[in-house]
Amino acid sequence: MTLITALLALGVLALLFGALLGYSAIRFKVESDPLVEQIDDILPQTQCGQCGYPGCRPYAEAIANGDDINKCPPGGEATIKKLAELMGVEAKPLNAAQEPAVKRVAFIREDECIGCTKCIQACPVDAILGASKLMHTVIAEECTGCDLCVEPCPVDCIDMIPIPVTPERWKWDLQAIPVKLVE
């Protein structure tokens, strides 16, 4: 008899709590950004396509659907760490062998440019200015350094040059200051 009472009591309790939990899950649901949005916010938005997807958002969708989080060279380790945190998975080393250590922007050697507009078509963020048969130039401020314009250039006149360090952007690396000898 006691056995049945105990079982009944526990069963009822379990039901009650289950119902309570179920109710609160619906009632107090936390409205958050959809996962894809959150992932997209973490990605560096270079739109470089090095992950194999045409842009950052498609890659975000792919991650949300279970793709690896280590396919974004421009984001580097920092992005992978954040993605790992968000997705609750282990952070993996970067997939691509080389990671661009320094931020770079595209630069068109303007006297060699033939005005073919191929780079303009390649640029995912419309950061190249120019018209057919006229010289093109890169808006350095808007360039994400994605490299996508380098390959299509028929005369190889696009260089990726590192962004120069200015006192404003300097990272207080005292070791790197060259000490000059005088006299």
Binding site: Q47, E112, V165, W170, K171, W172, I177
Partner: protein, 673 residues
């Protein structure tokens, strides 16, 4: 309970949290007269010596300038121009080690003094009769920026539209060793007060509070005497404590107010100016004397004569040190600024700028190097010393972990980098250095985030635009197709020419469709190879030309011409090969017409001639191979026609010959067929 203003009037002083008491060591310099530095051989004038943007250069290399002449001019309010500190010649505008902790090169104007010290004409202002705007313009045009350390443009601070309750004149000079302001106050108290008068006219404050540390009795007496006629000027002696000269700390000391985080003092009705700035304002407005020199404390035990000197802006630090009898040690530290917040210099050619108040050359025993960094023992001496009431050891922990969110939670941004925490740390942890790195990282991250956001927006906008264009094109094509169909049905008759054209078009389309990805890639590679060849050739020809170039710059144009000719030939040759390889004449033709056309536009006659010849030859080859004579003919006749229009005689002759040859070749082919 008396009001705050009454309390301030009654002479109340408050205190701020923390602070340290490093040995002051000011007596070596504060009691001596200010020395005048001899004119140095060169003056290095950084074009930007303040917070803001650099002005536009208004001089060129080789120009002679007069003392006080503006070398840059302001095109917006964030610009403070720089002036020639003496008359002389501009010998270069170049990159030079900057007076910044990073020592990164910055643009400087190099001035060679001629020793005449000849002034430009000066127009002193009468402040009674002129309006505030004129005074502000005068302040900006004479290059006045805050001389306390940050170098904020003075005209912006003095031209504040918000109502100002208190104007605080910062004469605290709390950093050890430095006595430049002290010396200035002893020497020119009346000019300082005149400067304060001008600032008062601009800002109209309820009261002027002059804060001085109480270890400067002579300066205090001098200023009190100079202020005696002005009843709302209050000279306040604050107890010696570092960093009571910090803007926020002095405000708290004198008014018991706190500047809310992320706001400016003006938001709580306070404007603070350095005492040196007040002096410079008086000089600028009353004498039309721009900011071209300042008092610099040159001190440290490696100097035989530590003293304050009047140094022209742009004087290399080496000149100051040598003047004071510098005897360098091994691994000498030369510090620009004080021992608490100054930075070490990697070489002594760094110039004195508007914000330079001290050059410190200590011996190794005087200011010993920091020992090895040990583990934090959580003694929280740093928290006790922090004037911003931060928790430095928590910040250290999170800085090391690069946990930027936590750093923001613990208000890293409120750190004023005064160095009090590192001064007291028994484990000799360079706390401030960690915070600076973390701050720079956070700033960088914020910049990146902003950029990513922009990139995303641009990417999306581009996608939307492409989509819209695609739709529009589709719609137009449909429309055109419909129209054509209609027209065809209506006319019924067919035009032979139109027929031929459409045939060609379809054929071309077919060919184009046949072109596979590999072909495109191969072509692209080829083009690149071409470009590389071109570059190599260019480099080679540039090398060949070097001697001549060095001799005569006029040769430049001929050199480029040569290069261009060579390039065109190379391109044409490559094209020929390509043509020989590919069976696709239509595409080749198309690119042929495009590229040489381009080069002609750029190159002068010779290139055009060469190009035309090359093209013609290529055409011939092509013609020999191709079976599609109609197209070749068409393009052949078309192109030289174009060229003739542009090119003069020679080209025309060459083209004509080429054309004739081509014709012959085609005819021959046709005959064979």
């Amino acid at each position: 309970m008396p009001s705050l203003f009454q309390q301030i009037q009654a002479g109340a002083l408050w205190d701020f949290h923390g602070g340290v008491h490093p040995p002051v060591r000011k007596t070596q310099t504060s009691s001596k007269p200010i020395a005048n530095l001899p004119l140095p051989d060169r003056l290095y004038l950084p074009v930007r010596q303040h917070i803001g943007v650099a002005g536009q250069l208004s001089i060129t290399t080789g120009e002679r300038v007069l003392k006080g002449q503006a070398l840059t001019f302001a095109d917006n309010s964030m610009v403070v121009p720089v002036h020639a500190p003496t008359s002389g010649t501009i010998i270069a505008i170049t990159e030079h080690t900057s007076p910044h902790p990073s020592a990164l090169p910055e643009t400087v104007i190099v001035l060679e003094p001629d020793g005449a010290d000849e002034w430009r004409p000066r127009q002193p202002l009468n402040i009674v009769s002129c309006d505030n705007q004129t005074i502000l313009e005068r302040i900006q045009d004479n290059g006045i920026a805050g001389m306390g350390g940050a170098g904020f443009p003075t005209h912006l601070k003095a031209g504040m539209s918000q109502p100002v309750d208190y104007l605080i004149i910062n004469a605290v000079e709390c950093e050890p060793y430095i006595s430049a302001d002290d010396a200035l106050m002893q020497e020119a108290p009346t000019t300082i007060v005149k400067g304060i008068d001008i600032l008062c006219k601009l800002l109209n404050p309820k009261a002027v509070l002059i804060g001085i540390e109480d270890d400067k009795p002579i300066a205090i007496a001098a200023l009190k005497a100079a202020c005696s006629q002005r009843e709302h000027y209050y000279v306040r002696e604050v107890p010696v404590k570092y960093p009571s000269g910090g803007e926020k700390q002095l405000i708290q000391l004198l008014t018991n107010k706190e500047v809310p985080a992320g706001r400016r003092p003006a938001d709580i009705g306070i404007v603070m100016q350095n005492v040196g700035t007040a002096f410079a304002v008086a000089q600028a407005v009353l004498d039309d004397h721009p900011l071209i020199s300042r008092i610099v404390t040159v001190t440290g035990e490696t100097l035989v004569h530590p003293q304050n000197v009047h140094a022209l802006i742009g004087t290399p630090v080496a000149a100051l040190l040598d003047f004071c009898g510098f005897q360098a040690e091994q691994r000498q530290k030369v510090i620009m600024g004080g021992p608490m917040m100054g930075f070490t210099l990697p070489d002594l050619s760094v110039p004195v700028v508007k914000t330079t108040n001290c050059i410190l050359a200590p011996t190794a025993t005087e200011l010993p190097d920091a020992g090895p960094e040990l583990d934090c023992i959580r003694c929280s001496s740093c928290a006790d010393a922090c004037p911003a009431t931060l928790l430095p050891q928590q910040l250290l922990w999170y800085s090391k972990a690069k946990d930027h969110d936590k750093l923001q939670e613990y208000n890293l941004a409120d750190c004023i980098e005064c160095g009090a925490c590192a001064y007291v740390c028994p484990s000799e942890i360079p706390l401030v250095q960690y915070y600076r790195i973390a701050k720079a990282d956070i700033r960088e991250q914020q910049r990146e985030a902003l950029k990513a956001e922009q990139a995303k927006a641009r990417f999306e906008a581009r996608n939307a635009r492409l989509e819209a264009e695609k739709q529009a094109r589709l719609a137009r094509n449909q429309q055109l197709a419909a129209a054509r169909e209609q027209a065809q049905q209506q006319s019924g008759a067919t035009n032979a020419v139109a027929d031929a054209l459409t045939r060609i078009k379809t054929k071309q389309a077919e060919h184009a469709a046949e072109k596979t990805r590999e072909q495109i890639l191969a072509e692209r590679e080829q083009k690149k190879q071409q470009a590389r060849d071109y570059q190599a050739q260019k480099a080679a020809s540039a090398k060949q030309d070097e001697p001549t170039q060095g001799a005569l710059s006029a040769d430049d144009s001929s050199a480029t011409k040569n290069a261009a000719v060579a390039a065109a030939i190379a391109r044409a040759k490559a094209k020929k090969e390509q043509a020989a390889l590919t069976a696709d004449t239509a595409t080749t033709n198309a690119s042929d017409t495009e590229q040489p056309g381009n080069s002609e536009a750029i190159d002068p006659r010779q290139a055009a001639v060469a190009a035309a010849i090359a093209r013609a030859k290529a055409k011939k080859e092509q013609a020999a191979l191709t079976t599609d004579t109609a197209t070749t003919n068409a393009s052949d006749t078309e192109q030289p026609g174009n060229n003739e229009a542009i090119d003069p005689r020679q080209a025309a002759v060459a083209a004509a010959i080429a054309r004739a040859k081509a014709r012959k070749a085609t005819a021959k082919l046709e005959g064979e067929e």
